[in-house]
Subunit: 291 residues, 3 copies
């Protein structure tokens, strides 16, 4: 099979025509409820049976993450935050997923999801849904502010990665606040990927890229799925990190720092050499401290 | 006097025609300002004369609670949050109540409110106002989203119990954050009652219940007043708790837990009996730990 | 030169016709980014190179403060929060300022801003921009709610002093929460001044003051600039404090407290005099404790 542009476009248009409801949405909801459950296990293990004692907080937290992207985009655009709950089907589906993840008899569903193959399948579905949400977010932003590049990109990125930013609210809802852990301090690959994908979709939408909509969508979805599957096997797999380090070095003074450090070390060495050649060890220690 | 349906309807329609402004609103504002004052006394007693040192924070906190339901509903529906302050009369009234509760000469008003009969009168008025707010909230939601059961119920419930959910914001405003104390973790009777009342009003509004509007309103108001008055005399009176425990047992695996615990105890007992009959005491300790 | 009303009006109308973009806005953005940088230095000095490690959090925090007034007003009026980013020029300018403040080669820009004359120039520009923002906020509020005095004043005040109120959000974004430090607990002169300026502009707009628009604007701008320049030289210069103490004494029971204290001291003295004239010292100690 030849993987030419036309094939990509065909696959992409198939993906774009897929209905997200119900299977892709189910995967997303299940993984979000799982995230809440695991966050409870990590940070609130001192409260036994948290989800049975505080079902309301647990339910609200799960829903905040399940509908995070939509909620945050509506909030930023001054639209009704409850808009996404106008049609009942999604909320009912999310509620069912929440119930199954937290309260299935003998925890069968939870144990099932934790199995690698099931988790990978769900993650693949979820990443496809994420790509579609970014795509929808960009279209939504384009519809409201056709000339505003920034708002369109923000809509797309937040629609795809909203749940990450809402984690702080969701944790407040469960009665915990963890300083130094939020999405903007430590952006995950999902967040950074959503930003890049939103930029790509926006450029395509504004006809600034010589790529078809379908091919672009296929590319974005493939990358998200690939990175997600890899990160299930290898902890903290993030292909953007090298580029980040590079751009950090170029833009945020990394090179400057390196130069300054080098010159300072050099001058320190020179000074020491003039004075006394014995205490070379202490220079090393100094230069390490500067690091 | 015969308490038949017709009498209920008559009482209910009288209640529905009552003007909330100013007496019922005054009762609500006074009790909300009192709640702020008592929260300061409980959690910020290390700062003497908090309300004199920080009148702005104190005022804003009081107003957040006084107009909590409206603010939160407007926020969730994408309406202007300041909408309720368009007409000055309510804000002026709330400001006067705030001033009297916090700064009346020789604290006479505060001492007066703390008297049981006065507090009961105010609470009765406040619960009637709460019932009306839920009713108005349901109508507001129905007006905007006539087909969305969930949004209508949420509007009604939040309109009635909004101040509970805003307590976390109000406390941030006063410079404190109390983890593990928020409305979703420990919902009060008011919150749960508002949810049930909103569901009841919504069902009536959609003609799914064979009850008239007035009779339904009378019933809801009576229950709120009854529970409130009882809870002033008996601490933590909450008629929903038994139903909660039941539904928790049915839906959230309480029965499963009981069965599992029983079987585990049984097997532990069996094992022990086989091995040694002496250390029965330790079994009891174990079974207590599992509880 | 005679400083009569006509001259004031001429100066004021010149100020009102000044374009804020780009120079005045640059001054505002630079000082806001500087505020973020200094807040990091004060409270997050344990994390070396915070701005290089967490550029996203640092950027978002800076933007929240740069556009704080607009964001908060849009939020309170139910308008799209992202509205101000519709036109790119302001965001691009703010981004450039942020970059220069945090990452200029050898920190030249930062060192430059810290020089007194540069800081004073920037502050003067910023205070003129603040006055204009209050003026614009009042007009915006007047346009939406022509009859609502309160909303108009709040719009003006928040537009001018929004960044102060958003500091708590901005700090959450950087992963810290400082209890007992927020704008409503310890309102700065900027906040109080903005409130008074908004009231003045609103009264003028409603023709309740016999002052022209231009003269009023000139007066407000002069006061803001004067206080700002003074507060750079003398720490915590705040001309409102005496009036605050006075109104606190009148309205918040300061006089009552003084009377009560006096009467209590007096009665303590009387009691002591009757019993024994020896231990006068302890009375002094007591009266000090009551203070």
């Amino acid at each position: 099979m030849k993987l030419d542009v036309q094939t990509l476009e065909e696959y992409g248009s198939v993906l774009l025509k897929l209905k997200m409801y119900p299977y892709f949405d189910i995967a997303h909801y299940i993984l979000m409820c799982l995230a809440v459950r695991e966050d409870i296990q990590t940070y609130q293990s001192t409260i036994p049976n948290f989800h049975k004692r505080h079902p309301l907080a647990c339910y609200l937290s799960s829903m905040i993450l399940c509908f995070g992207g939509g909620i945050l985009v509506h909030f930023l655009l001054g639209e009704p935050i409850l808009e996404d709950f106008k049609h009942h089907q999604n909320l009912v589906l999310a509620t069912a997923c929440w119930y199954l993840v937290f309260f299935s008899p003998f925890d069968t569903i939870y144990k099932l999801i934790k199995l690698k193959p099931v988790k990978i399948t769900l993650s693949v579905l979820k990443e496809l849904q994420r790509s579609r949400k970014i795509y929808d977010g960009v279209n939504h932003g384009f519809h409201l502010y056709p000339n505003s590049f920034i708002i369109i990109v923000v809509c797309g990125a937040i629609k795809g990665a909203g749940s990450g930013f809402l984690t702080i609210i969701e944790r407040f809802n469960r009665g915990i606040y963890l300083p130094n852990t939020n999405e903007t301090l430590h952006p995950s690959f999902a967040t950074k990927g959503c930003l890049l994908a939103a930029i790509a979709f926006t450029l395509e939408r504004k006809d600034l890229l010589n790529v078809s909509k379908a091919a672009m969508f296929f590319g974005v979805a493939t990358i998200f799925v690939y990175v997600k599957v890899m990160s299930i096997f290898f902890k903290s797999f993030d292909p953007i990190v090298p580029f980040e380090n590079l751009s950090s070095a170029v833009f945020f003074g990394g090179i400057m720092d390196a130069l300054r450090k080098a010159s300072r070390n050099q001058s320190a060495v020179n000074q020491k050499t003039k004075e006394n050649k014995n205490d070379q060890a202490s220079v090393d220690v100094d230069s390490k401290k500067i690091n």
